[in-house]
């Protein structure tokens, strides 16, 4: 069973409630209906019921089993907002939140924050910036994590003699030049996402052009400091560095270059790049030159799961991202 099949199995075993604020997008609606039919998640559509039904009719889709929340239902809106405010975790004032709840994405996030849903997926119509700002202002960041980031993973049929090798990477999508604090948060969030999806312990390498001081410069200092912060914040996670990528992934190279004990060197399954350029180039290069299965990108770092899909996503990619987000939601409850 490959990683995505295991994700489907986990999602079905502990079904989560996912909010779909962009449900009138035909591609999103088709993916969400398939998710509901295949028992991956309990789906909640948010919008105007007649508009939602009209799209379903044109697509020939059956909405039975899907909960539809009317964006204009003032009684429910007031009730869910009251319960969100009562959690004591609201970031904006009541008036500011109420005004934004006219938009389905904010309604969805307030429902999630109030406990009426477990996760949200958006971004097929909205930009990543919009999704990040909405999630930051309603859900807020997880403890110890200063910024949102993008999780990306690749599963290789065979890598260095290891079959179905699953390697996670971040952040190739949000933080252009993360500070040491932000980089530490990215590492912690990526370990959490990896462990939720894969079920294995994360071994996280903080990447650089230097291995344990073989190179010098401000970018090396930043990675070293980020590793220290991550170790202080989460001593339970195996986060080590700074390592070059070969020292992180190949045991024989690690034996030469890493002249000390390390639970990560040579056997890393999570790679944290020093900035967006390195990660973005690295992940795209991997996709171009290898026959790997790709997972994500998944937005991470928030107090509760929010998935930002790409505006170019297909029905199949959305289906997989919904399943992954639900598994993350289930894991974070444990």
């Amino acid at each position: 069973m490959n990683a995505i099949e295991k994700i489907y199995e986990k999602a079905r075993a502990d079904k989560q409630r996912i909010c779909i604020p962009e449900c009138t997008n035909e591609i999103m609606m088709r993916a969400a209906c398939k998710v509901s039919k295949e028992q991956i998640a309990d789906v909640i559509f948010i919008g105007k019921p007649d508009e939602i039904q009209a799209v379903a009719d044109t697509q020939g889709l059956n909405l039975s089993g899907i909960r539809i929340v009317d964006i204009e239902d003032a009684v429910y809106k007031e009730d869910v907002l009251d319960r969100y405010i009562a959690t004591g975790k609201a970031i904006l004032g009541r008036g500011s939140i109420a005004a934004r709840m006219k938009q389905p994405i904010y309604m969805a996030l307030v429902m999630e924050a109030a406990g009426d849903a477990d996760c949200t997926i958006a971004g097929l119509d909205a930009t990543t910036g919009t999704v990040i700002m909405a999630a930051s202002s309603i859900i807020g960041m997880a403890e110890g994590i200063a910024t949102a980031s993008m999780f990306f993973a690749a599963e290789f049929k065979n890598f260095d003699g290891k079959e179905n090798c699953f390697i996670a990477m971040s952040d190739g999508g949000v933080n252009v030049e993360p500070s040491p604090e932000q980089l530490a948060g990215i590492a912690i969030a990526t370990c959490n996402t990896f462990q939720a999806l894969k079920g294995d312990e994360a071994r996280c390498a903080m990447l650089s052009f230097s291995t344990l001081g073989s190179g010098k410069g401000p970018s090396v200092d930043k990675v070293v400091r980020a590793k220290e912060i991550a170790n202080e914040l989460r001593p339970d996670l195996k986060i080590d560095g700074e390592f070059q990528v070969d020292a992180a992934l190949r045991e024989r190279v690690a034996k030469k270059k890493v002249q000390r004990e390390s639970e990560v060197a040579g056997k890393a399954n999570v790679l944290i790049f020093p900035n967006i350029e390195a990660c973005n180039i690295g992940t795209k290069f991997i996709q171009m030159v290898s026959d790997c299965r790709v997972y994500g990108p998944i937005l991470q770092g928030f107090r509760l799961p929010v998935c930002d899909c790409s505006r170019s996503d297909t029905e199949d990619i959305l289906f997989n991202n919904i399943a992954s987000t639900c598994v993350l939601a289930s894991y974070e409850k444990q």
């Binding site: 970031i91 904006l92 004032g93 008036g95 934004r100 990040i132 700002m133 202002s137």
Partner: protein
């Protein structure tokens, strides 16, 4: 306008935890105070509460200085 700028500075001082005397209409909120998006969200939220307006986050992303925010608030009132 002076009254609006005064209240915007008060709000920024509270969110960014700096003394009001360190903030002027020319202060760049990201360069001079903090680039963290969560701070900008709190600042916008504070302005909305103080002035009873709603500022779109995408529009707020294009505002740079305290004076820019004050002008936006005036436009929304």
């Amino acid at each position: 306008m002076e009254e609006i700028i005064k209240k915007v500075i008060e709000c920024a001082a509270m969110v960014y935890e700096v003394d009001e005397s360190e903030i002027t209409p020319e202060t760049d909120i990201r360069e001079d105070l903090s680039a963290q998006s969560i701070k900008v969200i709190a600042f916008v939220g504070g302005l909305e509460e103080a002035f009873g307006v709603v500022i779109d986050f995408a529009e707020a992303g294009e505002l740079i200085t305290i004076a820019d925010f004050a002008n936006k608030v005036k436009e929304m009132m």
